[in-house]
């Protein structure tokens, strides 16, 4: 990055000019940018989020994705952008409502308003070119929109973005996002050097000129805000005493795969899993790794299994529809005891469902989607940091237990960006290549320990180890065996391993008091929102705790004991469940959320659930309401 333009740098903070300006001091804020898709709002938000994290704020960013595939410009359903919640402390979820929004037109803003995404006192910076647009229809829409918005206490500030950007570029459609970034930079007093560096990173594949132009636009936004705004928002930053990194969940999965020493990612493109393979495709070769884009999901998992059988631990990454296609092969991997890691970045289903949006509805498919009895491991990272480490854990378990390990993340983790402590890499995570030493005479292909079901891995190249791995029922010599004893034994051995793994796990920690009126149980990406809701409930004097499960198969030990200490237990999940008071719904026919179903079967405790499928992460405020509602229904109902 050679270009350096002179502008307000670090030294300009707290200038005399700020005197007379209102300084709003808060411990956290949620800022968002929305535009038509293609106007670059997502990029702006990503840069802003990364800068906040780098300055030492806790942060969590969420993409705002249009509700339609090809939305027309200026439509309520077409808003695209990014929402950044950041604060002095660690931020664990996307929060409730936006406090400050930069909107490129009044229609996308109206869309956000109608979704109830904005706080009642939100500050709105709105492009005002539409007010005087030559098209009278547009002028009319503007008027009507502003009227609708006036029903709330929003503070609307009109910004001549188009006009200002035209001073620098001919086509402000490409560049307004950087102007907006400048607005944020001023309002939140961000470090401009860091912003420039982040712009350089974002446009690293583009020319020097593109970089320079974007910096100019950003600086123009900054200058405009400086000259025109009578407030600034101060969110103290605290530099962490440990080194931190910031990335999204899919990047964390990719890096975790590298850290775990995996060398083959065999995949077929599908949203929202794809960006992990994009990331890996970019960097994997430098680590000696290959991203194989197969002809379909079935082939993708087949190639991974072939590679694992041959001595590597490969992984495949997919989302819902792809998971369905892989199921037959997953059962085979369990049957032949080939280690395999499968990442499922969950999205809304069934069918093509909500391809870009979050849901936690693949849990049962992940666990039981294979035909026959196919015991395997399912785990779910709850944070972006855990996405990274889950790959290391998954590989180790897959190899030690010769089984399939599924890692369930979701669209929220995949695209969310959050800072976390920099992992301390360890070469031992990668494990030595498999042994190619000869097999002693008389040692069967599956030398199952009758107590644990564990057996030693065997790969081609090992002298005297020849055998045919088969998906047919087989005995310890891997010979096809249909007799009752052989099949029952095989099933028992494969199942026993999972019990052995369960013995190595710790009971989940209870967040809050160890006993009380209500225990909220969650899994996956909802952890931060649930814990925040629990904190708020406790602050209101409610006796609520939570516990978050990392392992779904096997379930962690001690659940029954923990549940017993609470009057009521309720899961909170992003998958469908019937509400108890819905028409036709009785306690008997009620379809419960997926983890809830598992926990009821597992513990025989009358676990309740509150679940939603909005295609969005859960808001802590909504979870809090659910908690209050369930408690009001009376303990033990």
């Amino acid at each position: 990055m050679a270009t350096k333009s002179k502008t307000a740098g670090k030294g300009t903070r707290k200038r005399a000019k700020d005197e007379g300006r209102e300084i709003i001091r808060v411990s956290e804020h949620t800022a968002e940018i929305v535009s038509d898709s293609g106007e670059g709002a997502q990029k702006c938000g990503q840069i802003f989020g990364a800068v906040c994290a780098k300055m030492g704020n806790g942060a969590w960013t969420v993409e705002i994705i249009p509700a339609e595939i090809q939305p027309p410009p200026r439509s309520k359903a077409g808003g695209s952008g990014n929402r950044v919640r950041f604060g002095t402390e660690r931020i664990t979820n996307w929060g409730d409502a936006t406090n400050l929004v930069v909107a490129f037109n009044e229609q996308v803003l109206l869309g956000r308003h109608e979704l109830d995404a904005l706080a009642d006192d939100a500050i709105i910076l709105l492009e005002n070119m539409w007010a005087t647009h030559p098209d009278p229809d547009i002028q009319q829409q503007w008027k009507e929109a502003l009227e609708a918005l006036s029903t709330r206490n929003y503070r609307i500030i009109e910004v001549p973005m188009e006009e200002e950007c035209l001073k620098i570029v001919e086509d402000p459609r490409r560049g307004k996002n950087m102007f907006a970034l400048g607005l944020f930079a001023f309002i939140y007093d961000r470090d401009l050097e860091l912003i420039r560096a982040q712009i350089a990173h974002q446009f690293r594949k583009k020319s020097e000129e593109v970089y320079a132009r974007n910096v100019l636009l950003m600086e123009a936004g900054y200058a405009w805000a400086d000259a025109n705004l009578d407030f600034r928002i101060e969110i103290p930053t605290v530099k962490s005493d440990q080194p931190m990194v910031v990335m999204n969940g899919n990047e964390a999965i990719g890096m975790g795969a590298v850290a775990a020493g995996m060398e083959l990612c065999s995949m077929y493109p599908i949203t929202p899993a794809t960006s992990a393979s994009h990331y890996l495709s970019d960097v994997f070769d430098k680590f000696g790794g290959v991203v194989h884009q197969a002809e379909d999901e079935i082939a993708a998992v087949g190639v991974a299994i072939g590679a694992s059988y041959a001595g590597k631990v490969a992984f495949t990454i997919t989302s819902g529809p792809g998971l369905s296609l892989k199921q037959e092969f997953l059962g085979l991997a369990v049957m032949v005891e080939v280690p395999l890691v499968v990442v499922d970045v969950q999205r809304g289903g069934p069918s093509t469902g909500l391809p870009t949006k979050v849901e936690q509805s693949d849990l049962l498919a992940a666990m039981f989607g294979q035909h026959g009895d196919a015991p395997h491991v399912v785990l779910a990272p709850a944070t972006i940091e855990e996405c990274f480490h889950s790959m290391v854990t998954a590989r180790r378990i897959a190899e030690t237990f010769r089984t399939v390990v599924m890692v369930l993340t979701d669209a929220n983790l995949a695209t969310g960006v959050q800072p976390f402590p920099r992992p301390e890499l360890d070469p031992r995570w990668q494990q030595a290549p498999v042994s190619l030493s000869p097999i002693p005479e008389g040692k069967p292909a599956y030398d199952w320990d009758p107590r644990t079901g564990l057996s030693s891995r065997r790969v081609p190249g090992q002298k005297d180890g020849m055998h045919t791995a088969t998906g047919l029922a087989h005995n310890e010599w891997s010979k096809v065996a249909y007799d009752p004893e052989s099949h029952e034994r095989g099933c028992r051995m494969r199942s026993r391993k999972i019990a052995v793994l369960q013995h190595t796990l710790r009971a989940p920690e209870v967040y809050g008091e160890e006993s009380g009126d209500l225990l909220v149980v969650g899994w996956g990406s909802t952890k931060g929102a649930i814990e925040e809701a629990v904190d708020r409930a406790r602050a209101q004097g409610l006796s609520v705790s939570s516990c978050h499960l990392t392992f779904l198969s096997p379930l962690q030990p001690g659940l029954k004991e923990i549940f017993r200490r609470f009057e009521r237990v309720m899961t909170v999940e992003i998958n469908y469940s019937d509400e108890p008071h819905d028409p036709f719904i009785t306690d008997e026919n009620r379809r419960r959320a997926q983890l809830c179903l598992l926990l009821r079967a597992h513990t025989l405790v009358d676990v309740d659930c509150w679940s939603r499928v909005p295609g969005q992460p859960l808001r802590p405020g909504f979870i809090l309401n659910a908690i209050r509602e369930r408690l009001a229904m009376g303990v033990g109902v």
Binding site: A53, G56, H201, S240, P243, M244, V245, V246, M247, E251, M255, V258, G261, E263, L264, V283, K286, F287, G288, G289, V290, H292, E295, D296, I298, A299, A300, G302, V303, I305, G306, A307, S308, Y309, A310, G311, E328, F329, V336, P419, R422, P423, L425, D426, P427, R428, Q430, P433, L436, P460, G461, D464, G465, M466, T468, A469, T470, G471, K479, V480
Partner: protein, 317 residues
């Protein structure tokens, strides 16, 4: 991808073993008496012996079907996986372990129906392996259902009044795929030809697709009847760069000289006629192989940690 290479397998250790046919014998084959798969198994064992392939460095991958039981009957490594999905597994094996000898055994339902997508793409990847299509024109294991290669009007249990569609031509289909590098056809009832074809396939560097006409005495006994009884139905494609067995001249008088380099000629000859053509249709070793294109230098764990640490720097706060 890293590869264990010869260093871990054999270098430094002088391997003085020699292998007899018996050394490749696995479980006793359980195919029906008269099933063509028996003679294919014998020819394959002969090839393994002739080439002295180390049993532990040889992997047979199959799908599901009568023919896919093949690996069980060999004393090599085997992977008997899913119906139609042998090729992806074999691709994974070879990607990670290019030094292994990889063979794939598929039935016609396996390869040309449920696994047809993989067949096209495996042909295009051109990974160095031998793919055998054991074509009995019928689903054997599931007891007599129409397959894509069942001849027109031939009855089956699912189409008792005869099939409705013209049979798919596997040779022509394979020759139509970009990057196809070796395509041959042989018949199990001509052991010498079968053996030579397998040998040529084995020696070809790339994806060697061999369709083996295979009799099924139970469901399609009559299909190859004429070809078996009347040698004149068979036309041998001969060439110095292909297969030429002068000993067979006495029986198989119909011959055509075909240079396996000639793709247009190959496609023309692959068209269905009254004649059954055996020999190498096409061979081209100059085509790129996927495993070579994707091969990367090996990395140690420490190197990876160092590089990943640099990568993390880019994301440092």
């Amino acid at each position: 991808m890293t590869h264990y290479g010869c260093s871990l397998l054999s270098c430094g250790v002088i391997d003085e073993r020699t292998f007899e046919m018996d050394d490749y014998q696995g479980a006793v084959a359980r195919w029906c008496p008269g099933c063509g798969d028996h003679s294919i198994l014998t020819a394959v064992q002969r090839l393994l012996e002739e080439e002295q392939l180390k049993p532990e460095e040889t992997v047979f991958v199959s799908g599901i079907g009568c023919s896919s039981r093949f690996p069980h009957y060999l004393n090599t490594y085997g992977f008997h996986g899913l119906h139609g999905r042998a090729l992806p597994v074999a691709t994974g094996v070879k990607l990670e372990r290019p030094e292994l000898n990889v063979f794939v055994v598929m039935g016609d339902g396996d390869c040309c129906s449920i696994g047809a997508g993989h067949w096209i793409h495996a042909t295009r990847y051109n990974v160095d392996m031998v793919a055998l299509l054991l074509d009995n024109n019928m689903y054997g294991l599931t007891k007599g259902q129409t397959s894509p290669t069942t001849p027109l009007h031939f009855p089956s249990n699912t189409q008792p009044r005869g099939t409705y569609l013209e049979a798919l031509n596997p040779v022509q289909a394979t020759l139509g795929v970009t990057n196809a590098s070796f395509v041959a056809q042989t018949a199990e009832w001509i052991p010498a030809h079968l053996y030579e074809t397998l040998k040529a396939a084995y020696h070809h560097k790339g994806f060697s697709f061999v369709r083996i006409l295979q009799r099924c005495p139970v469901y399609t006994a009559s299909v190859y009847d004429e070809a078996v009884r009347k040698p004149d139905v068979i036309e041998m494609m001969v060439h110095d760069d292909g297969i030429y067995l002068p000993d067979l001249d006495q029986i198989y008088k119909q011959k055509i000289v075909h240079n396996p380099k000639d793709i247009d000629g190959a496609r023309r000859l692959a068209e269905v006629t009254e004649r059954v053509r055996l020999g190498v249709f096409y061979r081209n070793e100059a085509l790129p192989r996927y495993e070579d294109l994707r091969r990367l230098p090996a990395h140690t764990a420490e190197e990876r940690v160092r590089l990943l640490s640099e990568e993390l720097d880019r994301y440092a706060v």
